[in-house]
Amino acid sequence: MSIVTVQLGQCGNQIGFEVFDALLSDSHSSQGLCCKRENEAYQASCKERFFSEEENGVPIARAVLVDMEPKVISQTLSKAAQSGRWKYGQHACFCQKQGSGNNWAYGYSVHGPRHEESIMNLIRKEVEKCDSFSGFFIIMSMAGGTGSGIGAFVTQNLQDQYSNSLKMNQIIWPYGTGEVIVQNYNSILTLSHLYRSSDALLVHENDAVHKICAKLMNIKQISFSDINQVLAHQLGSVFQPTYSAESSFHYRRNPLGIDWHVRPSLSGPSSLGKMSLNKDLHFNTSIANLVILRGKDVQSADVEGFKDPALYTSWLEPVNAFNVWKTQRAFSKYEKSAVLVSNSQFLVKPLDMIVGKAWNMFAS
């Protein structure tokens, strides 16, 4: 089943490139630690989800690129083409010349409606290419003008036109000491609109990813490229094929079929986990937790710790809230890896901060 990715704004396009690159290079990795037939099934599944096939065999990403300035898109297109292993479609991008000036309203109320038809046409063409279409993956930042404003607008349109398809928005939560003065306004406006039209919000906080780069990876001069690569790595390990309890003989059909259970107010961040639990359990409970295990010894891995009722809200049993997906096929170069995708209260505090700052700015 195929996913169509919509990359919006500078952030969305840069991250989108890294994600496709990470997915394809993992798919071609030779250290899968599994038998040939398994590896071929994995590659075929990954390929069908994210790429379409051209005559000469170079996979084309199932993506639509949107930005209001030309620079980032042309960089993204050429980086992909240079890799030689994959590329974006020739007519898959839409861009303008004047930018959005980090203004959410400009993105949502001006650019969106003005270019609605062109953008939705591109998306429709991409959807029609899929034999079996499972949903949309929309990559955007909250702090800027294009990604956030047009992202909210496009998601709403997708809700109207493709009401039966799943939509997952990948949101980049800006740095607390952020780059853009009006980022708090932009963030709140974005979230309040996405809450109604999106099915799932997958959040990555710049601060958190920055810490991963600094502390876990010891990178001295952290650039956006480093951050994007870590992010793409995490997303890749969520999206690559896995088996779940319901379908244990072939790879899960729908990569977006993460059953978030309720239209959540917010989804939690995903963290590349060791399986150690968060010690302070009582202030962060989850509605749903998904653990994805890849690599050696997945069949014998012990996930009982995640079934502790204290981790979950009072009205939900762990058996309903907790899921595990596994595959023996190792991801990237990691012999074993685990990802936790959590729908929890983790973002309540950051959200409070943003709302507080926005009110202060508004009231002053």
Binding site: M1, C130, D131, S132, F133, S134, G135, N164, S165, L166, N254, G257, D259, W260, H261, V262, R263, I287, T313, S314, W315, L316, N320
Partner: protein, 344 residues
Amino acid sequence: TCALWQLLFRVLSPLPAGNALASIALEVQARLVKSALCSQGYPRLALAQLPEDGSQGSRELLLALSWLLARGPVPEQMLAQTRVPLGDEMTVCQCEALASLGPPAPHMEAEGPVDVRHVQWLMGKLRFRWRQLVSSQQEQCALLSKLLRTLEHESRRLEAVLAWRRAEPVFWQWMDTVLGTCAPEAPAAASQPTFLPWVPECGDGELELVVRELQTLEEELREAVERRRVAWEAKARGCGRGPEWSAARRAFRETVEKELGALQRCWEQDSGPAPAHGPHRLVRREDGAAGDRDLQAAELIRTLRSQEACLEAVLRQLQGQCRQELARLAGALPGLIWIPPPGR
């Protein structure tokens, strides 16, 4: 001449046509054709001596082709290779062991007030399932249109075979004249040319190794089974002893005994055909002659109908249980008005 080599290759190759075949070099195709013909017993030596670059020998190749066509129904065999398998197949499962209904469903306790958030959660789950259903249906439509295109290709191939059958007598008349122009060959020498496939000698040593590996595997499995049995027994013992537990345990034991009995009967049955399992092709026969492994449609329909009746009975029983449960819940919450679903 090159085209004839390629045609012979395509006819003799055991694999269905694909892009991979087209990219094999002509010399390789020619060599494979020679060895395949030789292993099938083709008598004319002149073919084996033809150069492999496709420069000469079209008459020999034509003779080889007509030899193959005379031996067996080549076009029909090729059609069977590339047959579109969908649409005329169904899976059948007559295994008695699998007709059992699995472990009894756990008894659901629904006491106390239900949190409205739980209901919202259930709604969300339902909505999610609904969307999955819709996208599966859309996928089915797309695949059906693909199937239609493949079937169109196949019917074109079928028409080509029919055209061949109509023109065939002319072909044989022509081939007679071609054979007439050939010089008679000396009877084939007893020596077989060196085209036989090479079978590596498998010494006893390898077999020994395999036997030993299997024995160690069997040991390991036996130990694993023992460990699991001990662990399970320990767990089962600690599971409490109330009356409902022993009732449940009795039910489990009965189900297991039934399944075990069915499995044993399956194994011990060596008289009569094995129960059918797996995909079967639907073929319409006028003469009523059924092969050994064929199943009569009427018999299958009868079996399926009886299975359907059993399942319907179980369904009605479960529905009755649900209705009783709902009635009980409705009684327990006096302030609420329940509208039960219409009974059937």
